[in-house]
Symmetry: C2
Subunit: 402 residues, 2 copies
């Protein structure tokens, strides 16, 4: 796209989709960087994303003091409020209209692939009507399912939570042996569920089985897997993605559970319910047996929203999320008209990454999945995945066994 000189006007920033532990790092990164750009007059924040923008519910971020910004950056969840709206062309036209009204010339939207699509439509509408406005998407998602990046801000912190949770829970399961099912977030991509493998330290540590949305889930095979581990170890810790599906692409939640709930996008509700865990738990209770033919102790936990709002961000994630926000402003300032920010891994040891601008069309409304080289058989991840994920999550707790 053609580079253009900077125009005087206001900037607006919004946050969208499921919050993360570091989405406010990106917000603060954008705000801090914008303060250094002379043509930018007001720095406005959308309350609850584009839904607040279109109704004029914006706040002035220009005057928030640096020490407060610092604490906000370290606070999980979306400080501006978030939104689940998925704007169509008509909605985006209203967004653009409001941008004109507010003299917005710099538009930053922090979110997942739906949010990058909003940026794309708004940017195209602005181009078509020759309204000079920079449109940038700053990536965020615990699912790690955005295209074009080594990984996405938000994922490392959620992966840190999942790995830590599996470490503690593995010892809990070892001390009171039984079958433990932990359901992990991730509607289409298994990265977060796969991160449970980072919990392993010693032989026989859990998770012993890992089920990803990328691998068709077969109920009979699942039962056989669990029985085999239970026979061998007298216990079994299992990581299951909330998005596991059968070979025909039907969510196991829908095939095992009758009562369903769909969100505004028509998606089946996977988070905020223990339904999948309980259904799998009932299945295991019915089919898996102890050596003496009894029903084993079976428990299921659904990690739920704590995965995305736990206030202990990965240091790498906090730094990169802040940096992605700053880099988006730098792209706008150097004259790029629109884009999304991608993370490139420069080296593993020591871990080092850099940012680059990619086109909005490279990321918008697309979904990235676990590549085959990260998947081992039908119930595990590879050493390549561990190598990929390990540097992202930071130091994990030290633990020892007798």
């Amino acid at each position: 796209m053609a580079k253009q000189k900077l125009i005087k006007g206001n900037a607006v920033i919004g946050q969208s989709g499921g919050p993360t532990a570091v989405i406010n790092q990106s917000l603060v990164g954008v705000v801090e960087a914008l303060r250094d750009i002379a043509p930018v007059k007001k720095i406005l924040g959308m309350r609850h994303g584009v839904s607040g923008l279109t109704t004029g519910d914006v706040v002035n971020l220009g005057k928030v003091k640096a020490d407060k910004l610092k604490v906000i950056a370290g606070t999980p969840s979306a400080a501006l409020g978030s939104s689940r709206d998925k704007p169509d062309a008509e909605y985006c036209a209203r967004i653009l209209e409001q941008c004109r009204t507010l003299d917005i010339r710099y538009f930053f939207y922090i979110g997942g692939n739906d949010s990058s699509d909003t940026c794309r439509i708004v940017s195209e509408l602005a181009d078509q009507s020759a309204y000079d406005m920079r449109c940038f998407h700053v990536p965020k998602t615990v699912d790690n399912d955005l295209m074009g990046s080594d990984h996405t801000p938000g994922f490392p912190s959620a992966a840190r939570f999942v790995a830590t949770a599996f470490m503690g829970d593995n010892l809990d399961n070892a001390s009171l042996p039984g079958i433990k099912i932990n359901v992990v977030m991730g509607r289409h991509a298994g990265f977060l569920t796969a991160a449970s493998a980072l919990a392993r330290r010693n032989e026989n540590d859990g998770p012993h089985l890992i089920y990803l949305p990328e691998v068709p889930f077969e109920t009979d095979r699942f039962i056989a897997d669990v029985q085999a581990v239970y026979d061998r170890l007298g216990r079994c810790q299992i990581a299951v993605s909330e998005g596991v599906q059968d070979a025909r692409g039907r969510a196991i939640t829908t095939t095992l559970v009758e009562s369903l709930d769909r969100d505004a996008h028509g998606n089946v509700q996977l988070s905020g319910t223990g339904a999948l865990g309980d259904a799998l738990s009932n299945l295991v209770k019915a089919k898996v047996k102890t050596a003496s033919g009894k029903t084993p102790r079976v428990r299921a936990d659904t990690f739920g929203y704590l995965q995305r709002c736990w206030p202990d961000a990965s240091p790498v994630d906090a730094k990169e999320a802040r940096g992605a926000g700053k880099f988006a402003v730098r792209c706008a300032a150097r004259g790029d008209r629109s884009g999304s920010i991608a993370i490139t891994r420069v080296s593993d040891k020591p871990y080092k990454s850099s940012f680059k601008r990619i086109e909005l069309t490279d990321v918008a409304a697309k979904t990235r999945h676990m590549p085959p080289e990260f998947i081992e058989g039908h119930s595990d991840v590879t050493a390549a995945f561990i190598k990929y994920c390990r540097p992202l999550v930071g130091d994990l707790p030290e633990m020892a066994t007798l």
Copy 2:
């Protein structure tokens, strides 16, 4: 009880019941202190509590190196393995028999009120047969439901997890407003659910409603409560104890949920299932309405086992759990024949506590509940509870909102 001079022989230590983040601190406290007691020869550990002891599954703890013990102390869950066995007199006779066989003269059992009852029976049987053995119970429970103590080791760390979780989740709920139900552990006592109140920093912070097992749960009143908060704030974050019950003492889980599971003690399974959260969620979806008469966004999380195995112990808890183990050995060494260890609060600012020996009969098989002065109305806790709980959990994360 009469004080007696120390006899030469071996010591054994076991861990029982649901593990905690600091139960290994108590284990290490006992081991460290025993190493200084000259008449104590071997220091043995029961694998999986009295179940391992009776089958001869014991390990030698005398030779575990100090640096390894240090890491084990900071590791959550029961390093020796735990047990859900609730021994009767016949079982306790077998325990005593095994103690004779192994020349055990010092018996330490770390656990809740069931474990203190095991200590009591074993101690009485030893007395009756004139077998000289010190029997000590070292308290542990995330439920904080042991009699005779200001609070119980294990509770402060679980309370720290719950308060931290509610802080993050409150912001998640504020950024994507809706009704959020969080189910917290605590079969009979509401202390852990009440600890959610520590998450409040600013006006309108959640939890907005807190339901304890000590206050009869009325479905209609619950719906009215939620509707009122939702009408006022456009959102509602709710803390519900897994043990909430109706005025007739029936668990709400049993009245709302059909499919049940009972453990070896005949207790209904409350943890390791999302059933209560999902049932309450369905109830709210059916009854609570938005201003425009629609069904609000409703989600439920059941915090589950992470509450007791999350590897970020409260510093006060870690110190006290270690100290309780050491104090039990000190009691045995000074000639006390049996007992349990209680924590007394010496001062609030600065927080200071001390230990005392109490009789096993003071704590055995009894349950402590939230006292009336900690309960505010039917859906909140008092300032007195906050004052009680606040010093126990350690520093909570700093968070800020715009």
